[in-house]
Symmetry: C2
Subunit: 133 residues, 2 copies
């Protein structure tokens, strides 16, 4: 079977695209590399990953260059941060009025912070190793 | 602002978890590293990424260790493959009865193949550079 290198694009949806775009750029500090507002926008995360935000009402419309998609409800993604940065993130998020919904210390010693973006998507910052290699 | 290293977990949803799990392991060849059926399962993609498949009826239930999430409709993700592997993937997918829904050659020279998983999620294999650095 041919190989797959990596996950290139991860998608979250929200009908309030301007608000969630501001959240990922201004609160989380991600670098916006493409903007097709009101359809979607793209952010670089680290060297190799792209986070795409889409308004599902736009991406569900047939007739475009790419196949339709688009979901409703709350999605989830996790981003990795250095263990020494988790406390700084908690302070930063709280100072911006973002509630920490949950903190978990896993049996491996990894730790997770969970909070919500303005569309209600569950965002996790994980520090340390959790998944088997 | 503290740094973010990478996207660690990307999520797709489907109520037919057994079928989509088989698709990602047997048709796409991803390595399953965790199984919490009927709630979800995890696959490694490359060295650093995890693909999570969840039944949203399970992840929307309150009271678990992690916050609720779960969406309905068709999600999307893109995985990167080597340019020289795209033809092999088309042949492999077609031989397994998977229809290629769309092929796109982008202005940068990057090429994309689009197909559906058994939950209807739009999966893209992209070869070459597309997103600004």
């Amino acid at each position: 079977m041919p190989p797959i290198n990596a996950i290139l694009e991860t998608v979250l949806y929200g009908e309030n695209l301007a608000a969630i775009g501001s959240f990922y750029s201004e609160v989380l500090g991600l670098r916006r590399v493409s903007d097709s507002y009101p359809r979607g926008m793209a952010f670089r995360v680290g060297a190799e990953s792209i986070l795409l935000l889409f308004d599902p009402r736009e991406t569900r419309r047939d007739g475009g260059q790419v196949p339709t998609h688009g979901s409703t409800g709350h999605g989830h993604l996790a981003m990795s941060v250095e263990p020494g940065q988790l406390d700084a993130w908690r302070t930063h998020l709280t100072s911006r009025g973002i509630a920490i919904e949950r903190e978990v210390t896993w049996p491996t010693g990894a730790r997770s912070l969970y909070f919500r973006d303005p569309a209600g998507n569950s965002v996790e910052f994980m520090a340390g190793d959790f998944w088997p290699r």
